[in-house]
């Protein structure tokens, strides 16, 4: 069983939250946009949102400047 994170296939872990996935992927950026199957997950819900099986996850880190 797997999920896709930023186009990379990684193992699906049962009951893993967004927060845990970010940690597992070693994404340490302070500000990110996370989309699961094209739906934005709000930061407040990272610790309670479970990654579903076969999910496509996008993690974009937001950098200051404009």
């Amino acid at each position: 069983m797997s999920i896709t994170v930023n186009k990379r296939e990684v193992e699906w872990v049962k009951d893993e939250t967004v927060q845990e996935l970010l940690k597992r992927m070693k994404y340490s950026f302070p500000l990110v946009i996370v989309k699961i199957n094209n739906e934005v997950i709000s930061r407040k819900k990272y610790s309670e949102t479970i990654i579903p099986k076969d999910a496509t996850v996008d993690v974009i880190h937001m950098i200051s400047g404009g």
Binding site: E39, V40, S42, M62, I63, G65
Partner: protein
């Protein structure tokens, strides 16, 4: 030979007219009128966009002139006013609505309910993140074009397009935060124009 050239030009002119009259029907909202937003607005007006909704609370400062589309004569003016006068001097028929206000979490969507595409052109990463989250939740069907990683110069080949449903981000994952790098006109403007180009593709139904 002469007639062939003439024919080709005619075809081009017809297409140009078609694109302009299509763009004429649409309105684009721009959040932030700095290095990204001011340059996006100028380009959209030149391309023939029908309307713009411009949101920024700031005034023009001398430090802005290294990359933002303002002039010395605008110093101290509200960015919404300065930019409106520039845009009107390019195309007075573009309908411009301005909000001289700071975007605050909880009501960030307020000015953008009647636009066809939203451009995220904010500078602070925390604000960018909050804006994308809120707009995608409250206006999930409105295409949103964002940018992340504009600082520095060179490294054009690092810039990529991340398309995720209605959200598209022009993105350089290896760019530094502005705290650790500089903002220079060509790269900021390049990313602004990339955002503009995507917005036009979206409006003309060609963005894949």
């Amino acid at each position: 030979m002469g007639s062939m050239v003439k024919k080709t030009m005619k075809k081009g002119a017809v297409k140009a007219q078609q694109v302009r009259s299509q763009l004429q029907q649409y309105t684009i909202g721009i959040a932030g009128l700095g290095g990204l937003g001011s340059n996006v607005a100028v380009s959209l007006v030149r391309a023939g966009i029908g309307g713009l909704v411009l949101v920024d609370f700031d005034r023009v400062d001398e430090s802005n002139l290294n990359r933002q589309h303002y002039f010395l004569s605008h110093l101290g003016q509200k960015k919404t006013d300065a930019l409106t006068s520039i845009l009107k001097s390019i195309n007075p028929r573009c309908t411009i609505t301005t909000y001289d206000t700071k975007l605050t979490p909880g009501s960030m969507d307020k000015s953008f309910h009647s636009v066809d595409v939203i451009i995220e052109a904010l500078d602070d990463a925390a604000m960018k993140t909050a804006f994308i989250e809120e707009i995608q939740q409250k206006l999930p069907h409105t295409p949103l074009v964002s940018a992340s990683g504009v600082s520095g110069y060179g490294h054009i080949d690092r810039i990529q397009i991340k398309k995720m449903g209605t959200l598209t981000i022009v993105y350089d994952p290896d760019a530094k935060d502005v705290e650790d790098d500089i903002l220079v006109a060509p790269r900021v403007n390049l990313i602004a124009q990339w955002q503009t180009n995507i917005a036009i593709e979206v409006l003309l139904g060609e963005h894949q």
